[in-house]
C-alpha cells in the first residue's frame, strides 16, 4: 500500500494545478452532501490518506450499476480509480480476464488482508448456488471468501442492498442481499436501480477520505446524507401536492403544467433518495422532472409495491372480488339474521295472550 502515491502527488505528476485540486475538493465535498466549509478537510484527507485496494464483485445483476457509475461526473469513476482508490478487481472494467482476473483478486486480498474494501453489485441466489457463478465459483462462496478479509463492504444497487428485482415475487432464484449473508462486517447499502452515479462515487469517496465512522447510516444501512429525506420532501412539484393539484394522466393539462404525479403512482413520499436535488445525467433531470412518477427503487421490495402506476393510497390487493363476496355474504347474513329476528317476533306474537285490564297486575 505504501507504494501507492497520494492524490496531490498524482495530480502534480499529471500537470494539474493546485487550483484544480481545490476545484476537485469543492466538487467532491458538494457531492458528498457535506457543507462547503468542510472542503479544506476533504483536501487534507486526500493529501494524507493512502488509496486503499477495492475489490468489486458483480453477482446476479444487470450491469446497470456499473454502467451508471462509469457515468458519474463528480467524482468520475476515473477519478476514483486513478485518484482515490486502487480498483484491483472488477470483472467488467478490468483488462485481465479468466484465471488472470481471479488471480488479481486473490493477490489483492492477500496483499491487503483485513484492509481492503469490497464493493458488491447484484443479489446472491441461494435457492441454487449454480444459478450464478464466476470462474466456476458460486456467488455465495465468492462473497463469503472475499468478505472474510474485508475492512468493510459497500452494497451498491438495490439488488446487493435488498435483493432487488431478482428478489421480487416469486423470487425464483432465492435471491438475497449481501446483508442477508454477511453479518460480521460493516456494510453500507447504496440502493437504487441503479443508484445515482455520484451517490455511489461520493459514498466511496467519503468512505475512503473520512473513514467508515464518518458515514451515518439509517436502519436500512443507507448513508443518511443521501437517503435521509424522501424524494417527496425535496421534490420541486411538492408545492402542487400541497395545493392539491395533481396530474390525472400523462398527457393532461396537469401533466403539462408540471403538477404532482402522486395520482399517477409516484412513490416519492415513501422513497428516500436525493434524486430531486442531485438529479441524474450530471444534474440534468430526474424521473419526476421528466414527467414520470418515482418507482421507489431505493426501497426494499420496490418491485412489489402494488404497481408503479397505482397511487400509494390505493389498495394493492384483490379487494374487488372480496368486495363482491362481502356484498353477497353480508346480505345473506343480514337476511338470515333478520329472519331469526322475525321468527323471534312471530313466536312472541303466537305466545301473546289477549289480556284485559284486569290481567295487568301480578296476582300471587
Amino acid at each position: 500500500m505504501a507504494d501507492k502515491p497520494l492524490l496531490p502527488d498524482l495530480m502534480k505528476a499529471h500537470g494539474i494545478s493546485r487550483r484544480g485540486f481545490l476545484k476537485y475538493c469543492a466538487t467532491l465535498t458538494s457531492a458528498m452532501a457535506l457543507p462547503p466549509m468542510l472542503a479544506p478537510k476533504v483536501a487534507h484527507a486526500l493529501e494524507t490518506t493512502a488509496r486503499p485496494s477495492v475489490i468489486w464483485l458483480s453477482f446476479q445483476e444487470c450491469t446497470g450499476c456499473t454502467e451508471a457509475i462509469t457515468r458519474s461526473h463528480a467524482p468520475t469513476i476515473e477519478d476514483l480509480i486513478f485518484n482515490v482508490i486502487s480498483l484491483d478487481y472488477h470483472h467488467t472494467l478490468q483488462a485481465a480476464s479468466g484465471d488472470a482476473a481471479e488471480h488479481a483478486r486473490e493477490q489483492a486480498m492477500k496483499d491487503n488482508w483485513g484492509n481492503y474494501l469490497v464493493v458488491v453489485d447484484g443479489s446472491i441466489p441461494i435457492g441454487n448456488p449454480g444459478y450464478s457463478t464466476i470462474a466456476g465459483i458460486s456467488n455465495l462462496d465468492m462473497l463469503k471468501e472475499t468478505a472474510e478479509g474485508a475492512a468493510a463492504i459497500v452494497a451498491v444497487g438495490t439488488c446487493a442492498a435488498y435483493g432487488g428485482i431478482p428478489h421480487a415475487d416469486p423470487n425464483p432464484t432465492g435471491a438475497v442481499s449481501v446483508s442477508d449473508i454477511i453479518t460480521d462486517k460493516p456494510i453500507i447499502n447504496v440502493p437504487g436501480c441503479p443508484p445515482i452515479p455520484i451517490v455511489m462515487t461520493s459514498v466511496l469517496a467519503q468512505f475512503l477520505t473520512f473513514g467508515l465512522e464518518s458515514i451515518e447510516v439509517d436502519k436500512l444501512g443507507r448513508p443518511k446524507a443521501f437517503f435521509g429525506e424522501t424524494i417527496h420532501d425535496r421534490c420541486y412539484r411538492r408545492p402542487f401536492y400541497d395545493k392539491g393539484l395533481f396530474a390525472e394522466g400523462f398527457d393532461d393539462e396537469g401533466a403539462r403544467e408540471g403538477w404532482c404525479l402522486y395520482k399517477l403512482g409516484c412513490k416519492g413520499p415513501t422513497t428516500r433518495s436525493v434524486c430531486a436535488t442531485v438529479k441524474w445525467n450530471n444534474g440534468t433531470s430526474f424521473p419526476i422532472q421528466a414527467g414520470h412518477g418515482c418507482l421507489g427503487c431505493t426501497e426494499p421490495d420496490f418491485w412489489d409495491n402494488g404497481g408503479f402506476y397505482k397511487p400509494l393510497s390505493v389498495p394493492a390487493g384483490e379487494y374487488r372480488k372480496l368486495g363482491l363476496a362481502a356484498v353477497a355474504g353480508g346480505a345473506a347474513l343480514g337476511v338470515a339474521g333478520g329472519a331469526v329476528g322475525r321468527a323471534n317476533k312471530a313466536r312472541a306474537a303466537r305466545a301473546h295472550e289477549t289480556v284485559d285490564a284486569h290481567d295487568l297486575e301480578k296476582k300471587t
Binding site: 502534480k12 494545478s17 493546485r18 466538487t27 450530471n282 444534474g283
Partner: protein, 145 residues
Amino acid sequence: MSTNSDNLHGREAVDLLKSHISTGNARPVLQEIHAALEALLATGTTSTIDLGAIPFGPGDERLLDEVLGKGELSATLDVLGTSHVEETGIPGVWRIDHFDQNGETLSRFVEVTFLPEILKTQRADAEAGLARLAIRLEEHDSRTH
C-alpha cells in the same frame, strides 16, 4: 401568464411556463446571502453556499439571477474542465460554477467574499511556476549562447 406569452407556441410556451415553476427556495437563499454579506462587512467572515444542496426549480434560478444580476468581473479558469467565476451585480457576492471536460456541471456555489480563493494564485502553483521559470530562463540562455 404575461400577455407576451400569447404569441408563444410549443416548446417556447412550455419553457416559459416552466420558468415559473418554483419551490420557493430562492427567497431564503437570498436572505442567507444577505446575512452573509452583512457578516463579511462586519467581521470579514467569508461564506460559501452550495447550490447543489438546495432543491431549485427553474423559477428559483430565475429569481436568483434577477435579484443578483450581472457584475463587473468575470473570469474563466481552465483546469480539469472549465470553471466560471463571476462577481454578481452585488459586489462581494460571487457565483462559481465548475464544469468538467465535457462541459457538464460539476458543482455550483455562491461565495460571499472579497476575492474567491480559487482566483488567487496558490502557493504550490507559484512554487512550481518559479521552478518552471528557472528552467525556461536556462533554456533561453542556452539557446542564445
